[in-house]
């Protein structure tokens, strides 16, 4: 009997007590193993299996798996590993049979994958997850089930880290642990071999700090990590891990943002970025990650080689102050902004726009605004180029960024040349072309040209271009002549900008295409452009045709004199046009076709060019647009960048439309408004409209849209924004009607910095303050309040009347004055006689005392002011009825009655009533005052309600607005104070006072690290009050919050404040306080 039979027989009894499959599997396993194991080994194997069955109620199931495994053990399974398997199974089954089942089920695959020597390790890993409860057991079981798959992508050491992670996670959530575990093979499989361990290492950190993010990390982490340049991933993860180690909840967010940032960078730059970040990490891991996140945005403004200086500057700040450095790298600090600005060579229109606007205004004397070229193209009114500078008569459009040179100054000089050219067009009247105005240099040949020719043109310049059959050529010629005139004038008039202009002209010349490759007529125009750029050397023309070219250059030169006006450009254009038509647009092929430089011919009417009767192209010698035999099509010369787009037809049209829109000033040419047909006609023939790019598809639809845009543009003449610090930017243009109260509240947005006390720096343009007039409510409120406090009103009024200064007060004992003070004079005389040195202060004079006070009241309209006052009072009342129910009942009944007759007052009601009282007092004394309320939610939405502006008088509207003061939302005091400061500064009073009336500490969403933090808000408020003080304003804070002392002490260190403990006293207290403040 073989050993197999023997063993079967031996164990039959023991196994027969279990379901049949057990025995079958045993037999199968035994037979499969028999060839590989020695009899004694087989015996041990069998005994182990049998032992398994007896361990617990369900451990026979484990035994089934054990025997099953016997049949499928891989080739490499050694006896040692088989034995280990058995031992592990027994230990495991003793604790949890299902665990052992999973373990054994996966064992063959695992042995195959991990090698026979690691069986015990593998078993240990799983056991680590097992904590003795069913959830952990199922997690461990899941781990075993996963076994082979995991080992396909990971080595044992790596798996142990994974287990560490899962284990960590399981402390918080088994579901999450299980989910991560099941996705692990797939996730890790996506990663490069070398990245897996660091990936898990970070996961472990994450599980410890913000375990909830682990799922996200497992879902999204792998592709994110792949954005980082391969060799750097580990270092990057280490950086990210440091953030997690800082117990930061948002570690994953940091990881994600920075990874996304890497995705936007060139892989070659990653190394540098990681290196710089690593420098920061020892000081603040957050700064390091924020640095990475900010790099793409920073690189929009500086070059990669300037990154290090920028980082170093921040590094120095970081070494001194963590918060300062962190804000710097988050790009939330004014200092950081400044440094970036200094480092960056490029000039941004957003930064210099205001300077250029005033500059252009100075040059032209017109109220211009400066905007980006992109915004012009957006308008869809004929300008299509996103880049080219231009002007439409009221606004100068400049490129958003200038980074042509490596130095900031040079870039600024360049954008200034752009601006100057556009401004000079307006200054020198490029758009004021008048058909019937005489030129100053040339002889007027236009009347002759128009003989017997009636024009339907809408604008003068259109009428002029109507003279030319080849409108494109005429337009090009006019452009070059006029631009030449402008440039010459700039050089003549503005000596200081000459050098920069010359430099740009040279650059423009250098960028032009070879004139010798052009057909002759095109080359003719090209040469004019060159000459207009002061590049006479660059003018080349075939010798045989030098005469025409010389004449052309002479004509161009003729407008470069101080007297020349835009009509001269027109005249020159007519002559040049005729000249150009005599030149065939062919490539030069003659033998004497050597290209040579040409000197301009002096004078402007040579060579048979006189005779105004000879009209360009009229009379049929040459048809427009006809391409003669063998002739090339005429092509416009390349644009000159700094000159930008020149669209005289469009500008004149727009000006005309504007004029019509503004009430049809009796027009010079067509007093009737334009018809759509006229517009369409103009549109179709004018060269100013780049039809090709304007039109995609239906011509009618496009022109229709274009025209409506144009009309819209003309209807809303661009407003001259008067901007100072705290730029108001109008969000809505509704309610433009003056006098009448706008139906829709007009909201104006102002931006203010916010003080970050940790960073010791301002966050630039951090808060948006939206100013609007408060809605109007009932007027009764005002009257009722007065009636209710009638006694108080009379009293305050009296007090304030006393305060009214006597206009002239006699002041005695002065060294100089209007007259002698008799007492002083007598004393003087006595002292003199007595031989004492007399006191010579013996004059009196009337000193004028002017009361010149402006006061802004800032009322807290936060939700907390909704609180009823009685509630606050209750605890004080409680003592009175000493547990006597009858007393309490009567108190309660009286309270109810009171509540029914008059609803309980809220804090805000008292604030309002106090305001009313104070207003009457202020009216008595005649101080300027403004009353404002504030509330809002978040930094982008600080609502600032105007109840009464400084320049408004107390009228019905204001009384009605008072009624509408209601609790709204949060209390972001800082920006509200800053805006009130701005308002106060607009007044010219000598004494300026800012009274802040609140019911609690400043508080808002994002006003501090989290909702519970108080310091940030208090410091910002304090800073805002300080700023006000620096502006010469006296701030005063008044609160009805009993706990107010603690923060007010910090907030108003050396400023006045008061806590009105008894809120009912507020109406009487406020005027008194005010009196004290101003006396």
């Amino acid at each position: 009997m073989s050993i197999v039979g023997e063993l079967l027989a031996r164990h039959q009894v023991r196994l027969s007590g279990f379901p049949a499959p057990l025995q079958q599997h045993y037999e199968a396993g035994l037979r499969a193993l028999a060839p590989r194991l020695s009899p004694s080994q087989l015996q041990i194997w069998s005994e182990t299996g049998v032992e398994l069955t007896a361990l617990s109620l369900r451990s026979w199931e484990a035994a089934v798996e054990y025997f099953k495994a016997g049949t499928v053990l891989p080739e490499n399974a050694t006896w040692d590993s088989i034995e280990a398997l058995g031992r592990e199974a027994i230990t495991m089954a003793a604790e949890s049979a299902p665990l052992a089942v999973s373990f054994l089920r996966s064992a063959p695959g695992a042995i195959q994958a991990v090698g026979p020597n690691h069986v015990r390790q593998w078993a240990d890993l799983g056991r680590r997850l097992y904590k003795g409860n069913w959830k952990s057991s199922s997690l461990a079981a899941q781990f075993y089930d996963l076994g082979p798959n995991v080992f396909q992508v990971m080595r044992v050491g790596q798996v142990s880290r994974l287990v560490l992670f899962i284990d960590e996670l399981s402390r918080h959530s088994y579901e999450l642990a299980s989910a991560c575990l099941s996705s692990a093979p797939a996730v890790l499989g996506k990663l490069d071999e070398g990245d897996r361990l660091p990936f898990i290492a970070f996961a472990v950190e994450l599980a410890q700090s913000s375990w909830a993010d682990s799922r996200l990390y497992f879902e999204r982490g792998a592709p994110l990590l792949q954005k980082v340049h391969g060799p750097l991933r580990e270092r990057y993860l280490l950086l990210a891990a440091q953030v997690a180690r800082g117990h930061n909840r948002s570690a994953f967010q940091y990881f994600e943002e920075a990874a996304v940032a890497f995705g936007e960078l060139e892989p070659d730059d990653h190394h540098k970025v990681v290196e710089l970040a690593e420098q920061l990490a020892p000081y603040s891991s957050f700064a390091a990650m924020d640095f990475i996140t900010s790099v793409p945005r920073v690189l929009q403004r500086i070059r990669i080689d300037e990154l290090e200086p920028w980082q170093q500057a921040g590094f120095r700040i970081l070494q001194h102050s963590h918060d300062g450095g962190e804000a710097y790298f988050r790009l939330q600090s004014t200092r950081g902004e400044d440094i970036l600005d200094t480092l960056s060579a490029r000039v941004e229109l957003s930064k210099v726009g205001e300077i250029l606007r005033l500059y252009c205004k100075a040059l032209t004397g017109r109220n211009l605004s400066v905007q980006t070229t992109a915004s012009l193209a957006e308008k869809g009114i004929g300008w299509v180029d996103q880049q080219k500078a231009s002007t439409e008569g009221t606004t100068i459009f400049l490129p958003e960024v200038m980074e042509r040179y490596t130095e900031k100054d040079e870039n600024f000089a360049a954008i200034k040349v752009f601006a100057t050219h556009q401004a000079a067009r307006l200054e020198l009247g490029s758009f004021d072309f008048r058909f019937d105005r005489s030129p100053a240099v040339f002889e007027d040949s236009r009347p002759a040209a128009t003989e017997g020719f009636t024009s339907t043109a809408v604008t003068d310049i259109e009428r002029f271009f109507d003279l030319f059959p080849d409108r494109q050529l005429a337009s090009d010629l006019f452009t070059v002549v006029e631009d030449g005139r402008i440039d010459a004038a700039i050089k003549r008039e503005y000596g200081g900008i000459r050098r920069a202009l010359t430099r740009m002209q040279k650059a423009a010349l250098g960028a032009r295409e070879d004139v010798r490759r052009m057909p002759l007529r095109t080359a003719f125009v090209e040469n004019l452009v060159r000459a207009s750029l002061d590049g006479s050397d660059a003018v080349l023309y075939p010798r045989g045709r030098a005469a025409e070219m010389a004449q052309g250059l002479g004509l161009l030169k003729a407008v470069a004199v101080p007297e020349a006006v835009v009509e001269d450009s027109g005249e020159a254009t007519m002559r040049l046009y005729r000249l150009a038509l005599t030149i065939p647009n062919v490539f030069e092929e003659q033998e004497d076709g050597e290209w040579d430089s040409v000197e301009p011919m002096d004078g402007m009417e040579q060579g048979g060019m006189e005779g105004g009767g000879e009209m360009g192209g009229q009379g049929g010698e040459m048809q427009p647009g006809d391409v003669g035999e063998g002739e090339e099509e005429y092509q416009s010369p390349d644009d000159v960048d700094y000159r930008g787009d020149f669209k005289p037809e469009l500008v004149q049209l727009l000006m005309k439309l504007r004029k019509d829109a503004q009430g049809g000033n009796a027009g010079e040419m067509s007093p009737t408004p334009l018809t759509e047909e006229q517009l369409k006609e103009l549109l179709e023939k004018s060269m100013d409209f780049d039809l090709d790019s304007l039109m995609e598809g239906d011509l009618d639809a496009t022109t229709g849209m274009f025209m409506s845009n144009l009309m819209k543009e003309a209807g809303t003449p661009s407003q001259d924004k008067d901007s100072k610090k705290g730029d108001p930017t109008s969000d809505q243009s509704s309610g433009e009607g003056e006098g009448e109260e706008a139906l829709v509240p007009l909201i104006t947005t102002y931006y203010y910095d916010e003080w970050d006390f940790r960073a010791q720096d301002y966050k630039p343009r951090w808060c948006a303050v939206k100013e609007q007039k408060l809605d109007q409510g009932e007027e009764n409120f005002y009257e009722n309040a007065l009636r209710e406090h009638a006694g108080l009103v009379a009293q305050t009024r009296k007090q304030f009347e006393l305060m009214k200064p006597e206009l002239f007060r006699k002041i005695k004992r002065l060294p100089d004055g209007e007259d002698f003070d008799l007492d002083g004079a007598i004393e003087w005389m006595i002292e003199r006689r007595a031989g004492v040195y007399p006191n010579d202060k013996i004059y009196w004079r009337r000193n004028k005392i002017e009361r010149d006070v402006a006061v802004a009241f800032l009322i807290d309209m936060s939700a907390s002011t909704d609180e009823e006052i009685n509630k606050r009072e209750k605890k004080y009342d409680e003592d009175e009825y000493d547990d006597d129910p009858r007393k309490y009942l009567s108190w309660w009944v009286s309270k109810r009655r009171q509540e029914l007759t008059a609803p309980p007052k809220r804090i805000i009601d008292l604030e309002k009533e106090s305001t009313v009282l104070l207003m009457t007092a202020l009216e008595t004394i005649g101080d300027q005052y403004g009353i404002y309320g504030f509330s809002g939610y978040g930094r982008d939405n600080v609502e600032f309600f105007v109840i009464k502006d400084f320049d408004e008088h107390l009228d019905h509207a204001i009384k009605q607005r008072l009624d509408k003061i209601t609790p709204i939302r949060s209390t972001r005091m800082g920006p509200a104070i800053r805006h009130a400061t701005y308002k106060l500064n607009l007044t010219d009073a000598k004494v300026k006072i800012l009274v802040l009336l609140s019911d609690g500490r400043p508080q808002d969403h994002g006003y501090g690290r989290d909702r519970t933090e108080k310091e940030y808000a208090i410091h910002d408020t304090k800073q805002a009050l300080n700023e006000a003080k620096r502006e010469g304003i006296t701030p005063f804070a008044l609160t009805v919050d009993r706990a107010g002392h603690d923060y007010l002490k910090t907030m108003c260190e050396d400023m006045g404040y008061e806590v009105v403990a008894d809120i009912e006293a507020l109406p009487s207290r406020l005027p008194t306080l005010y009196r004290r403040l101003t006396e």
């Binding site: 205001e354 005033l358 500059y359 100075a362 040059l363 200081g496 007259d819």
Partner: protein, 295 residues
């Protein structure tokens, strides 16, 4: 070089003895000279209106000189006409200037008090032109004096002495007023205003301003032209960051600096840009205009 009046020692004049000796440089812009002469002949008081540095004071000086030109009348006492110049008394008004500052007061003397005439009283007595510069700045009680002097009565009451002085024949009251910068509070009252004829002073046109700058500062005419151009451009910014345009006086200062070797851009910076405003952005804009015009 222009005479910038550099004396070894200062000349001391009694107020009513100060006359304009040399012809001051004044370039008429319109008919203001004829107007003033006619007004003077009729003894109609004159109000000069205009921004600071536009030449109001210079105009008064010029007119004093012009009106004081001798009609070859020989004085009996000295035999020469040297004293026959028109005295000019200028009072710069400030917010503490009271009526008694103008009329006079008692001063302490060794043995008691002595009455001292104020500038207005002196002018009334000698028949001088009394020029009250920036009159709205003065206290309101001064108007009490101005009113009787400016109508047909031509009287100056001196309360403390109990006297009333009839103005000497040659007396004329001239006041100046800058409508630009006074606040609404300090507007000239109509009862005062309507006692004067008003001559408006604007900034001179570019050509004339060029002449003035060239003459007063001694710079070459092309530089003076550039300065005038700068003035014109900067004045475009009025009401837009600048409350008042650059005065001719400032342009002349810039010119003097340039004439004495200061680089033009620097001269304009100190004389124009920084003098005009403290607003950095506006300063920068003006600077850009300067650098566009001057090399």
């Amino acid at each position: 070089m222009v005479d910038t009046a550099m004396h070894e020692t200062a000349f001391i004049h009694a107020a009513e003895e100060y006359t304009v000796q040399e012809e001051p440089y004044y370039l008429p812009i319109a008919d203001e000279i004829e107007l003033f002469e006619t007004a003077y002949a009729q003894r109609i008081p004159v109000l000069l209106k205009g921004p600071t540095g536009a030449g109001k004071t210079r105009f008064v000086e010029y007119m004093a000189w012009r009106l004081g030109r001798p009609f070859s009348k020989v004085s009996a006492r000295t035999g020469v006409e040297a004293e026959h110049r028109k005295p000019l008394i200028t009072v710069a008004c400030h917010e503490d200037l009271t009526a008694s500052d103008l009329v006079g007061r008692y001063l302490l003397d060794t043995d008691g008090t002595r009455w001292v005439d104020g500038p207005l009283t002196r002018a009334v007595k000698v028949g001088a032109i009394c020029y009250l510069d920036e009159v709205v700045e003065a206290r309101k009680d001064t108007t009490v004096l101005i009113h009787p002097l400016t109508d047909y009565r031509r009287l100056l009451p001196i309360e403390k002495l109990g006297q009333v002085i009839e103005a000497a024949d040659g007396f004329l009251l001239v006041i100046s007023y800058n409508p630009g910068y006074q606040s609404a509070l300090k507007d000239l009252k109509h009862s005062t205003r309507q006692r004067f004829i008003s001559i408006e002073f604007g900034y001179p046109p570019k050509e004339q301003e060029t002449d003035i700058i060239a003459h007063e500062s001694g710079v070459a005419r092309n530089v003076a032209g550039d300065l005038a151009k700068l003035g014109e451009k900067v004045r475009n910014l009025r009401e837009h960051g600048l409350s008042e345009g650059v005065s001719t006086r400032l342009l002349i200062y810039a010119g003097r600096l340039i004439a004495n070797g200061v680089a033009p851009r620097r001269a304009c910076q100190v004389a124009v840009t920084w003098s005009l405003t403290d607003d950095q952005e506006v300063q920068r804009s003006i600077e850009e205009v300067v650098t566009s015009i001057f090399e």
